[in-house]
């Protein structure tokens, strides 16, 4: 059983890129277009990791992250924030809201692969 990753991203192209990159690695990918859909899919799909954009319509990434951390079942779910907000303040905020790691856009496919692998733990990386 491959690991399932939820990508919460409002930019269709970015979502497609992350989706494709991860599927190439053998992960199962679920996508959500905004924060609310992200929360719902977390409940429904039980992903092993979430890649979370910050600037989302409605609930932003910070809000989604802190809500997930409040729930026992997702309190320890690996979350990688993936944002075009590139300042140190933004990264600090992401980690403060409970993200495990923060990746700045634009990122190489290799950076995404590496961060995801690290967060899921190398041993259980693929199938």
């Amino acid at each position: 059983m491959s690991k399932k990753i939820l990508v919460v991203e409002d930019d269709a192209n970015t979502s497609l890129f992350v989706d494709y990159t991860l599927q190439q690695e053998g992960y199962q990918v679920v996508v959500a277009k905004d924060g609310l859909e992200g929360l719902k899919k977390t409940e429904d799909e039980h992903p092993d990791l979430i890649i979370l954009d910050v600037m989302l319509p409605g609930l932003d990434g910070y809000e989604v992250c802190s809500r997930l951390r409040l729930k026992p079942e997702t309190a320890n779910l690996p979350i990688l924030m993936f944002s075009a907000k590139a300042r140190q303040d933004d990264k600090d905020a992401g980690l403060r809201f409970g993200a495990d790691d923060y990746l700045v856009k634009p990122a190489d496919p290799s950076e995404i692969r590496a961060k995801v692998a690290a967060l899921l733990g190398n041993a259980s990386k693929i199938v």
Partner: protein, 499 residues
């Protein structure tokens, strides 16, 4: 000064017992008098006491036989004669003022009274005067100060130590919207302000001897309008240094505060923009960098997927170049290098070209663009390229905020002395509370569609239209759609293009 030619003295009405004077008593009275005393007969000096000599600088020898009128300032002679006659005839006992020319040529203002008497069997005039030069000077200074305060553009008021108004100048009345000082005198300063506590503390601080205090208060006009007043208040002390009253100069600084607030807001928006620009550039770059890297890595063997990724790269590159154009326009706007090159032209061309350039974008969303443009429109002074930029902006906004299958109408007409152009959509509409900010630099709709724009288009459009002497505005209702309109003045040559 009195001439002698006067009637007989009217008997004095002394309440005191009649003094049966000795020569000695008379001399003592004259010596001790605090005024200059003199006697005239036939208009000439017969006697002047020592104080008179001291005040005028003339000696006894110089005065004796001199004509009294010669010492009066020429401009005052006639008035003095008339007043003196009134005194002598007993019609008026009021003293009168005139300018006495001293021996050294200086002018001395005197306050004088005369009465008639007899000396050695013939009519004579006794006069006495005081030097009032200093008080005249003080009076003049006071009048100058009073005029300055009355005509000052700052509001000025005085109050007693309890904070009750004792004086307000016309500017004060104007600022607070009252007609007459009587509406305000005696009222407490606190009653004109919204912040009673602050006002009271200010008065207390002043009364306690702090000297001068500056403050900003929220005040209330007669009609209830609130405004911000900036003031500087000082304590007025008497000659002994005891505080007696308070004076303050005040100004309505509401507008200045608003300008400052706007500037602060603009600064905030600007810094927010700087961080947004970085964000806006990074998002399309993610697609360009990500997809191209995947392909370079050989991870995209399928030709269909390759095409899809290349299309995304291409679209995002185009978005980036649009963004850069807008950013350049904004930076030109900021530095004042933004220019419109006006020439006489028919505006139908740029409007039609704008519509055509967006036709395929509209088609893709299944949106129809209707053009309601007369065959002939009066020519206007305009910059064709800039005008097209505005039209492209308004129409592409309309497309962006319309759902598929929607309809957009572009209407142009000549009305009075102006051209009216309107772009109407039946899209999402705009909440009224956003109207004031729509044309602000960096403002973007708070919807899912915001990420598509640079937040600069409407701001640039507004600058372009205003540079043409026109105005741009919006009418909209959430859920029903929006109409963006602008007008362009036709000017005095604004005839029909067929002329």
């Amino acid at each position: 000064m009195a001439d002698k030619s006067t009637a007989m003295a009217k008997p004095g009405e002394l309440a005191w017992p009649t003094l049966t004077g000795s020569e000695e008593l008379t001399q003592a009275l004259i010596r001790s008098a605090g005024t200059g005393i003199y006697i005239l007969q036939d208009g000439e000096f017969l006697f002047a006491n020592s104080l008179f000599q001291e005040l005028t600088g003339y000696t006894e020898a110089e005065l004796r036989g001199a004509r009294s009128v010669s010492f009066v300032h020429p401009e005052d002679r006639e008035a003095v004669r008339n007043k003196a006659v009134e005194n002598l005839k007993g019609k008026s006992l009021l003293p009168y003022e005139y300018r006495f020319i001293k021996k050294n040529g200086d002018i001395m203002w005197v306050l004088e009274r005369v009465t008639s008497t007899e000396y050695k069997g013939r009519p004579a005039t006794v006069g006495s005067f005081m030097d009032i030069t200093e008080s005249k000077k003080a009076e003049r200074e006071l009048r100058t100060a009073e005029t300055a305060i009355r005509t000052c553009i700052s509001a000025i008021a005085t109050a007693d130590l309890d904070g009750r108004l004792t004086y307000v100048n016309p500017a004060f009345l104007k600022v607070w919207g009252y007609d007459s000082p009587n509406d305000l005198l005696g009222r407490s300063v606190a009653s004109l302000c919204k912040e009673d506590k602050k006002t009271e503390r200010l008065i207390q601080a002043l009364s306690a001897g702090s000297g001068t205090e500056a403050a900003e208060l929220i005040a209330e006009k007669k009609d209830g309008t609130e405004f911000i007043v900036g003031l500087k208040a000082s304590l007025i002390a008497d000659a002994k240094g005891q505080p007696v009253s308070i004076t303050a100069s005040l100004a309505d600084i509401t507008e200045r505060r608003q300008v400052e607030e706007t500037r602060r807001q603009l600064d905030r928006m600007k810094s927010e923009f700087t961080s947004n620009v970085s964000h806006e550039l990074r998002t399309p770059l993610q697609s360009i960098k990500g997809f191209s890297k995947l392909m370079l890595e050989g991870k995209v063997p399928d030709p269909e997927t390759q095409k899809r990724f290349l299309t995304a790269i291409n679209q995002q590159s185009e978005y980036l170049s649009r963004l850069i154009d807008d950013l350049l326009d904004v930076s030109r706007l900021e530095s004042g290098r933004f220019t419109v090159e006006k020439q006489r032209l028919s505006i139908t061309k740029p409007i039609r070209e704008a519509i055509e350039s967006l036709r395929s974008l509209a088609d893709k969303k299944g949106i129809v663009i209707n053009a309601d443009i007369p065959a002939t429109l009066p020519e206007a002074e305009a910059d064709e390229e800039r005008l097209m930029q505005v039209m492209v902006n308004l129409i592409s906004n309309a497309i962006k905020f319309s759902s598929s299958g929607g309809r957009i109408t572009v209407k142009a007409e000549a009305k009075d002395a102006e051209l009216l152009v309107q772009v109407t959509d039946r899209g999402t509409g705009i909440a009224e509370d956003a109207f004031p900010y729509l044309f602000d630099r960096f403002y973007r709709a708070k919807t899912a569609l915001r990420a598509q724009g640079t937040g600069l288009g409407l701001h640039i459009s507004k600058e372009i239209i205003e540079a043409h002497g026109g105005r741009i505005w919006v009418e909209s209702k959430v859920g029903e759609g929006s109409t963006f309109s602008f007008n362009l003045p036709l000017g005095q040559h604004g005839g029909d293009s067929n002329e």
